[in-house]
Amino acid sequence: MSTINKTDTPAKTVIETAGMDAHYGERQVLHDINLSVGEGEIMVIMGGSGSGKSTLLKHLLGLQRPSAGSIELLGQDICGLSRKQMLALRRNMGVAFQGGALLSSMTVGDNVKLPLRENTKLDENTISIMARLKLELMNLAGFEDLMPSELSGGMLKRAGLARAVIMDPKVLFFDEPSAGLDPVTSVELDELILQLRAALNMTMVIVTHELESAFKIADRITVLFDGKIAAIGTVEEIKQSSDERIQNLIKRKPRDKSVDADAYLQRLTAGGRK
């Protein structure tokens, strides 16, 4: 199915981070992230809640600056770019947000057309055809004139994806494609992602905590724990990993919590965190 030899790192790197750290105030949330994603590759970033995967995504998108290290996107170090250069680089990136993040003041059609209207000089007729094409691809034909508030969660996600790919970006970032969706819709969305890659050879970075979906779509998986990379590898390598935490994640085993009876009692009686 995949055009890429999964065991080798593909020749051309599209995303590369080196020694990246990130802080929220004084709290360090990402530690020494070294990641590289090749052209046409689907990289899934996995991890539990609070593992830092959303923060990592925000940094890769250039929405936040790392406190140390570098991030290279399509050969450019995004930390050193001016605002104008960043905007130019972003024309090659598509981002599908968790809840779709459609602008609530305009129709679904206008939302999908927005990047073309703002970033290209195409005429309105061409823009309409391109938007309809992408909506059709996402099974959303005929929903153009509805407002985002009239769509279901799954439809919002697909509309967000249609908007993300309208400019035919080289890299697509997708935040939690299956979160909050019913199993059937979730599988459909996974199929859609694979179709997109097959058709357009897009590089994709997908953040998810849904194992099934991750194993189905990923070329390689990065597993994050407490802001550190626990493992990077193909689906098979991750499944056979000897790391106990990864096995727990795969087997959905709850984390071991050693209970300190004294501390527990103290917390209860004091009513506060230690």
């Binding site: 105030g25 130019a88 947000f97 968790q98 993040a101 602008l103 609530s104 003041s105 927005l114 970033n119």
Partner: protein
Amino acid sequence: MPESSAVSDKNTPIGIAVLPARLGRFVIDWISGVGRANVFLVMCLSRLFFMPFPFREFIKQINFVGVRTLLVLLIAGLFTGMVVALQFYDTLVRFGSVDLLGSAVALSLIRELGPVMAALMVIARVGSATCAEIGIMRNEQQFDALECMAIDVYRYLMLPRLLAAIIALPMLTALFDLVGIGGGYVVGVLIHGESAGAYVNGLIDTVTLNDVMMGVIKSLVFGVIIMWTALYKGFNVHLNQKLSGAEGVSHATTSAVVLSAIVMLSFDFIIGSLML
């Protein structure tokens, strides 16, 4: 990234040191807030020189700020004019100078009540709605989405709203004045039977270009203040670490309304004292 507080948890003051520490924190927060708000305004206005100008959004906002405020504004204008005439008539009758009614109503409306009342109506209808809208957009990651689509948020969302307020408010104020003077006519001439000629001529004789200019300048400045506050408060709703989500938006909206009303009234005094 969240704001770092002026006093960290490690060196929280105790005892009597609490008061000056709180005062210091308040002053630092206030000054940095004013600084950020000014940077925000400069960022918005600098987008005047960026291409392309979001014409579609601008027209939509002119419609929202101007056209859709019109009805409520005209009703308010009519009653304000009528009540001003009522009060002036009662006072002027005691001095036997009812002839001055037209000029008194016109001057108080054009110089003072028109700009202030129109601004208050716009704060209530547009300022609050804009702040809530922008705040919710922030919460729903819509700004991140715009940024990622290579669309400059200041150029695309902030500038058209700011310009719409700057353009629409003077026009709304002018209409408010006009309807208010009409309301004064209804009370003075139609109800109390004063001469129509005296009302209109008094008005024409006394009102100078300077009076009109004062009204226009005030409403221009008020337009900036109202929209600037609403946009800034909504845009930075995520910086509030204590309140988030719906509560954060509601708090931002309330504080935008209160702040813009207070700043608007203080600038009303400053402009008035400079121009009189």
